[in-house]
């Protein structure tokens, strides 16, 4: 019989076993099976099976089911929780000092975490609001040297790229350019706004990006060439706050530049572009207008003139890597072909289609329209935020368990009365939740207090208002639960585990000598503290290194002034400025140190009579003969520019050239001694001539990039004038400079910056990063210290009897101190071994982003350890002092 026995559906049986009361299970399942076997015979297997499962489903009702763990009714539960909270509050009130430490720790940790989370969330939300965000790409162009090395990667493309790409590839459904460099003056009635950044774009822009229209619409934005779309703020600026009532659509404003005027009709008003967008435009006008003015040649340029911010939208599902590849294979051949026989344009250019969503965090190309964020920064802050939260939790755990002896009797009594382990866990979890809930208002106040500072510092507009922002509210509640659970679970398990007899006897030596989870917690805090102190040390030393590195030029009291517009003799302007006795030196140049070396032409070097193209990029800066003197740059060999050494660099015009190159260029050309190269023949762009001088190397660009070969020529392509000022009476000097400027150009404001400010701005990102890391790291360290003090207290509390006995036997305070501190030294040692390599690896990576970087010295490695030891020794000494002062009788009388 057993052979052809069919057992009933096993999942049904398992289900029955799961829900049915244990003492019912055996006979009921037996009954079911008996009847099941009978049914198979009478009705067949299938029906028997159905019957069996159906009976079990019917059995699934409250009377038959096991009681859910706590069999108590909801009412009973809430009463218990009320009791837990009441006891919790009483305990918090009773031990005020540890409560305050706990709440401060948790509130600061929570506040810091939330602030960081706000920042990270904001950084991650860039450009996501555009409907087609996933299919939008920015067209960027890479330039290569003759040698095939990457020379520049531009954020902008050429004027002719967008339309040609769109026409040639069906996957590209829309393409637009933005031309941001027009700066026309805008006038409406008697008002005039000078040099407004009107952005000219293709009509496709409205199909690519989701701009939100308040008046007019995306479809009717550009009916003809003379259309102008405003944003809310520019509408207010031009038409006043009541622009909406006035109805500005169809109003005519005049755009003027360089004596030309054109009337534009307002066709639409958009919302201001959201903060979380990698570009912000205030006016949009049809790009056709710019093309009409600049001419077809410019509009059709495909190789250079990277001034056109270009975006494409692809059909959804388009294979963009493949598209990029075929564009690079075909485009350059089709539209440029060969520069000279055998020299193919395709070897010099590459398109890179950058996903829109990657731009803000990962793109740092040549000429980004706005400064982007950095994914590294997001990572670093995320790590610090999580560490902070963990440290705050660990801190709570340490303090909560360290005072366990106070709660032992309570736990004992509860157990005697019949509390389950689970209800004790619930009790201590609700206590930790209580502490977190109390910390929350303080955390919120801290956030509200700190947010404006953070916003100002990080140049952000983060908002924190949980009452309105439901996502933040939900996040906060989840955070509360998480932190409450995380911080409470260990103390809960620990305290509920206490042995009943020990608890009631008042025995205090629980686990005191063993390595356990608490040792792990302390080690964790040491790891974080050591790691953070080390990181701060490295950042500080790198920033110090940058600040103290001699950039090689004089930037003190050096002012860089924009040039007046209009026609005037540069010498007259310079002389006018130099009449001021407080202006010591003045010099024109196309770019100034701290800027970028973005202009370059091809160059040749002559060996004998034959010219060899140089295989490296040689950027050019045009200067006047006073430049080297003004910036204190020394001539190593040869001479400075003299009158008559002007070079004319103009396409298709051969001219005589005079060059001053830097030492790096000398090396790159294969010479060791600067003196040897002076007088040698070279060619630069369309010019040909001699090297007249060699200057010392200096950091024209920031310390992020190495010193590259460069050439100076004497030529009027000036954009700025640099003024060396006297240190005293700076304010008056500045206003006199403004006056002189106004004499030459009354319409625009003088725009000037101090070169050392510009210099420091190059490291603004690092400065911000280091300051933020420092602030948060100090918070983490402080919280950690609180926990440490609590922890030492705990160890001593558990050893109170031992200390008492030792004292009775004649031990000195010092020897007792040794016993306690030994243990911590081992933990510090472990933390050192784990924390330092991790932090070292992390920070070494960061240092690698600098070409000129400090090395990690032995001091930096040892400093955090000494700091931590000092801290621990301090805490131990304080607690030991307290402990050893206790009369041994006090702690020994218990037994």
């Amino acid at each position: 019989m057993d052979n052809n026995r069919h057992s009933p559906p096993s999942w049904s049986t398992r289900f029955l076993a799961w829900f049915l009361k244990e003492d019912y299970y055996e006979d009921i399942q037996g009954d079911l099976e008996e009847e099941y076997q009978l049914l198979i015979k009478s009705k067949g297997l299938a029906r028997a099976k159905r019957w069996y499962s159906w009976q079990i489903i019917k059995l699934f009702k409250p009377e038959m089911a096991k009681k859910i763990e706590a069999q108590n009714s909801i009412e009973k539960e809430t009463t218990m929780f009320k009791n837990y909270f009441k006891i919790g509050l009483r305990n918090l009130w009773k031990y005020k000092s540890s409560t305050v430490i706990n709440i401060i720790g948790l509130a600061t940790g929570l506040a810091a975490f939330v602030l960081i989370a706000l920042f990270v969330k904001d950084e991650l939300s860039y450009d996501r609001h555009h409907e087609h965000a996933k299919n939008i790409y920015r067209v960027t162009v890479k330039n290569y040297t003759t040698q095939g090395e990457l020379s520049r990667h531009w954020a902008f493309a050429s004027a002719g790229h967008a339309n040609r790409l769109k026409d040639d590839y069906s996957e590209i459904t829309h393409a637009t350019r933005f031309y941001p460099w027009a700066f026309p003056d805008i006038s409406y009635k008697e008002q005039e706004f000078l040099g407004e950044q009107v952005i000219f774009c293709d009509p496709d822009a409205f199909d690519i990006f989701s701009f939100e229209f308040i008046a007019g619409s995306a479809e009717t934005a550009f009916p003809d060439v003379y259309s102008l779309v405003l944003t809310r703020s520019t509408a207010v600026k031009i038409f006043g706050t009541d622009w909406e009532e006035k109805g500005v659509i169809g109003e005519t404003v005049t755009l003027a530049r360089d004596g030309n005027e054109a009337p534009f009709k307002v066709t639409g008003v958009m919302e201001d572009m959201p903060e979380q967008q990698h570009f912000h435009f205030e006016y949009l006008a049809p790009i056709r207008f710019v093309e009409m003015i600049m001419g077809e040649d410019v509009a059709n340029n495909v190789g250079g003139n990277y001034n056109w911010l270009t975006y494409i939208r692809t059909a959804s599902g388009a294979n963009v890597p493949e598209l990029t590849e075929s564009a690079n294979k075909e485009f350059w051949d089709k539209y440029i072909g060969e520069f000279q026989p055998g020299v193919y344009a395709r070897d010099y250019y590459d398109f890179v289609f950058q996903p829109l969503l990657d731009i803000h965090l990962t793109s740092n190309l040549e000429g980004e329209f706005e400064t982007n964020g950095s994914i590294d920064q997001v990572y670093i802050f995320s790590v610090i935020g999580i560490l902070l939260l963990l440290v705050a939790c660990v801190n709570y755990m340490n303090i909560a368990t360290s005072h366990y002896s106070r709660r032992m009797k309570e736990v004992g009594v509860r157990k005697v009365i019949g509390a389950f382990k689970s209800s004790l866990i619930k009790q201590f979890l609700s206590e930790s939740l209580l502490v977190v809930i109390i910390s929350l208002p303080i955390a919120v106040m801290l956030i509200l207090w700190a947010l404006p500072y953070l916003n100002e510092f990080m140049d952000k507009k983060l908002a924190f208002n949980p009452l309105v922002q439901t996502d933040i509210l939900v996040g906060l509640i989840l955070l509360l639960m998480l932190v409450g659970g995380l911080a409470g679970i260990y103390p809960a398990l620990f305290l509920s585990k206490i042995n009943l007899v020990q608890a009631l006897k008042g025995e205090q030596s629980m686990n005191a000598g063993k390595w356990n989870f608490r040792s792990f917690l302390v080690t964790f805090q040491y790891i974080v503290t050591i790691g953070l102190i080390f990181s701060i040390g490295v950042i500080e030393s790198q920033m110090g290194f940058i600040r103290n590195t001699d950039a090689g030029f004089d930037r003190e009291q050096m002012l860089s002034l924009s040039l007046p517009r209009g026609n005037y003799n540069p010498e007259t302007f310079r002389n006018e400025l130099l009449k001021d006795p407080k202006i010591e030196k003045a010099s024109y140049s196309s770019r100034i140190p701290t800027g970028r070396l973005a202009d370059s032409w091809g160059s040749r070097f002559f060996k004998g009579d034959s010219a060899v193209s140089t295989d490296f990029r040689l950027p050019v800066v045009t200067i006047d003969k006073h430049f080297l003197d003004a910036y204190g740059i020394e001539i190593l060999a040869g001479e400075n520019f003299r009158e008559g050494m002007e070079t004319v660099l103009q396409q298709d015009t051969t001219s005589v050239g005079y060059y001053i190159i830097n030492d790096a260029a000398v090396k790159a050309l294969g010479f060791d001694d600067p003196a040897e190269i002076v007088g040698k023949k070279m060619g630069y762009g369309p010019s040909e001539g001699r090297i007249v001088g060699v200057m010392e190397d200096f950091h024209f660009e920031s310390l992020h990039s190495p010193i590259v070969p460069m050439v100076f020529i004497y030529m009027d392509r000036y954009r700025r004038i640099s003024l060396k000022l006297s240190a005293d009476g700076m304010q008056e000097t500045l206003s006199r400079i403004e006056n002189v400027y106004a004499q030459f150009d009354p319409d625009t404001e003088a725009n000037y910056r101090f070169v050392d400010d510009l210099f420091n701005e190059q490291y603004q990102n690092e400065e911000r990063l280091s300051t933020m890391i420092k602030v948060f790291a100090v918070i983490a360290i402080l919280i950690g210290c609180l926990g440490l003090i609590g922890m030492v207290g705990f160890i001593i509390e558990t050893k109170l009897k031992e200390i008492g006995v030792r004292k009775v036997l004649g031990a000195s305070t010092a020897s007792i101190w040794m016993i306690i501190s030994n243990r911590f030294m081992v933990l510090i040692g472990i933390a050192f071994l784990i924390g330092l390599p991790a932090a070292y690896w992390f920070m070494n990576d960061w240092l690698d982003t600098f070409v000129y970087r400090t090395s990690i010295s032995i001091f930096l490695i040892l400093m955090p350890v000494f700091a931590v030891i000092l801290l621990t020794v301090g805490a131990i000494s304080y607690q030991t002092f307290r402990a050893t002062r206790v009369n041994p009788v006090e702690c020994l009388k218990d037994e």
Partner: protein, 131 residues
Amino acid sequence: MKEYQLGEFEEIVLLTVAILHEDAYGVSIKEDIEQRLNRKVSVSALQTALRRMEKKDYLKSELGEATAIRGGKRKRYFKVTKTGKAALDYAKETRMKLWSAVPNVSYEYSKAWITTGILPRPGLPGSWHGF
């Protein structure tokens, strides 16, 4: 007098347990009811009634022998307790009291049935099984 509450189904189950005497366990009780009353009984309903009455102390139970057909699970035999007996008596008594109180005119309706030819069937309407 103490009040004994018995539902209709409970009463049937309690009676059946009494009928089966020493042999009252899940399957036998169920079979007996189904045969005698020609009505379908679900394990769930039966067990619920049994356990409820056990809790009310009308029944007591003990585990008995296991058989192979039961997959080695033991049977639970039920017995009617004194209280259970009292409850049955009480139910019967009240029922009888009510019966005796019904006046004869109340039966008029049966004539109507007879004339229309529709006779009430024993058991519940819609019983489909072929026992």
